[in-house]
Symmetry: C2
Subunit: 397 residues, 2 copies
């Protein structure tokens, strides 16, 4: 049964999720910005409802370790230790979210945790071996919470011949699908990914792909030029102007030429790429550099979406992810869309911008504990549907 | 119900495993020698029966990668790629074992895979963070076989405050426990671990620990001095004599002074340690070096077992693992035991020496899919029992 969300729009739960009894779950997301854990307490009933959300920033030493682990200087010792350490942090985050909201952990049926991506190497397109590495041990989360835990979601899609990403479209469909309105959901995380939800379309009409860089490059910029972890609300970028040469250079990135299915990571738009930009465009003023990278995000997001989805008429663009708070990005997107789209923030639909990905992990975990698939082969390029993630079971005592 | 094994001795299945219908499973073990995959096809009925076993050696380039991953020169890229690659190799091994024995994979209920240990850092005793890293992705095994897969067994015990090792004692109890006879099961793998099975004792009487180095050091020696992957049957070692100074030096290793629970890995007896031995004892003749390391294995195995278990009267020593084929080790063990023990090989009890650890993974996986614990807190030092491993579910298609 379709049900009304707070914002009055219809949010459909996939048929399997229509339940008489409400089921509580926690979703945990730790994105490529590597700044902390977004946690969401979710209930599954005749619709998916976000009950509470919280953000637990990493201590700065941990963030440094995570960034080191994501870079070339990471050895297996660090992988091993961080896997356990992050697992403990994720577990503690779930426990704190439940406690703050006075929900006993015994009432939480399961936890879905994305983990911290430290490598993402999908090379099926080159006929090579594909692999991906998300750390933050599910056993540690399981021990801390006493809940069933689903973790390590991307490998099953990789094993099925997919890119392991994006995984958001399935969950975006559950959260934002509408019976009439065509919608585009744009997640502006470290990397930007887009989902196309045809009005009234079923799951098999859902498509999506990674459009390119978002906060990852902006955060490098904020750190380098302003000594800040990120450009809050895009306030620095708003003071700058777009540098056309830098913009053109970025838009020539090979990733942007590829057709979907495709997914990107630090390998494409990480520290190495940023260093190259700095070397080539050292004369561009910091504020302009920042603004231009916002334009890159907007141009790749809008340009590729229009190119690959070819929407007819006006569509609703729903923005989520940390980048949805960046007013420069939002302004650049609006400018590029013009009359082709109406821009909303995901919070208007009951799912706060920063919590969408955490909700997503709870939705995907719910699929897994039911033995149901969570990937969309058309989106990831997988040969088959796959039950995502690995299940850790709490102990008998 | 106790049941007769082929050898006429009684092999008890834990109560939970007493089943009317036989359940087929595959266990996969890839030990610290990093030479390949031991695979076992096992049936669980009113007793645990080994139906077929096989060994799939790694191609030499893969072995080189695995050894590199286990050493200091391993970066996160290698961890990521090897995780997927080994998962495919493990999956293919399970498929080949089933096919060779004309067992349809649909009849195999689940696969338990240990994975390749590339780090093992249990530091609870120093009050620090404990972690362990076994790779060989369960999702890949799941995709290749279409079976439920349990992998990554050690992290749950680590999360419960244990060393994550040894995990063998629970399974040794199922395979070799006897209602009257006191038994010691000695697994001579890369590292040697021992299990104490009191005659007629329940699971709570089972103890065990890692005694020290076995094939890991011997294989370095075989490679260095004889250009061989290992000293087959101990034939080189048998030609040498024990060097007392080298023996005394090895027996002074700090690990051997520790009281159980304890577990060891490449961190204690890996390439670094072997290099130190070479530097200090470069004048010892190769054959003597080899023989002395066999004596180290035997002395640590027997000495620590007698010290910590204090068996009364004569006990049966059951040897398994690749080192059970090393006649020099077996001779050294027999010489040290004298009248205190009667030495048997595990094959006499229906479980071939090289297959015991693979059977073990099937037994532990069987516990997990039933939601039952597989660790023994007294053995690993964990604060609690834990359901071991992470479960990957096959896709809906």
């Amino acid at each position: 049964m379709p049900a009304k969300s707070e914002a009055g729009s219809e949010v459909r739960a996939p048929r399997e999720m229509t339940l008489a009894k409400k089921i509580l779950a926690i979703g945990l997301m730790s994105g490529t910005s590597a700044d902390g854990v977004d946690a969401a307490l979710v209930s599954f009933g005749n619709r998916i409802q976000l009950i509470a959300t919280d953000y637990f920033p990493y201590p700065s030493s941990l963030r440094a370790d995570v960034l080191r682990a994501s870079g070339p200087e990471c050895d297996a010792d660090l992988v091993c230790r961080l896997n356990a350490k992050l697992g403990k942090i994720f577990g503690a985050s779930a426990v704190r979210l439940a406690r703050k909201n006075k929900v006993p952990l015994e009432d939480v049926e399961f936890v879905g945790s994305h983990g911290q991506t430290i490598r993402h190497l999908p090379s099926h397109d080159k006929g090579g071996l594909s692999s991906t590495l998300q750390i933050g041990d599910g056993s540690e989360i399981c021990r801390a919470t006493g809940c069933i835990v689903v973790s390590d979601f991307r490998t099953a899609d990789i094993a099925a011949g997919g890119c392991g990403a994006p995984l958001a479209p399935f969950a975006h469909f559950s959260m934002f699908g509408h019976k009439k309105e065509d919608r585009v959901v744009h997640n502006l995380g470290g990397i930007s990914n887009v989902t196309w939800l045809k009005g009234g379309g079923g799951l098999d009409s859902v498509t999506g792909f990674d459009t390119g860089p978002a906060n990852m490059l902006l955060d490098f910029c904020a750190e380098k030029f302003f000594g800040k972890q990120y450009d809050k609300n895009g306030s620095e970028a708003l003071k700058g102007a777009v540098d056309k040469r830098l913009l053109a250079h970025c838009l020539a990135h090979l990733f942007l030429k590829k057709d979907p299915p495709k997914s990107a990571g630090r390998e494409s738009f990480g520290a190495g790429y940023f260093e190259t930009l700095l070397k080539k465009f050292g004369t561009v003023k910091p504020l302009d550099f920042m603004r231009t990278l916002c334009a890159v995000t907007a141009e790749t997001a809008v340009g590729q979406t229009l190119k690959h989805f070819r929407p007819r008429g006006k569509v609703r663009w729903i923005l989520c992810g940390g980048g949805a708070y960046n007013r420069a990005i939002v302004a650049e997107i609006k400018a590029r869309l013009g009359s082709k789209g109406e821009v909303s923030l995901s919070g208007e639909f009951g799912f706060g911008e920063k919590s969408v990905e955490a909700v997503l992990m709870a939705i995907l975990a719910f699929r897994t504990v039911q033995g149901l698939s969570g990937n969309l082969p058309k989106v990831t390029g997988a040969k088959n549907y796959a039950v995502l993630g690995k299940i850790s079971l709490p102990g008998p005592d």
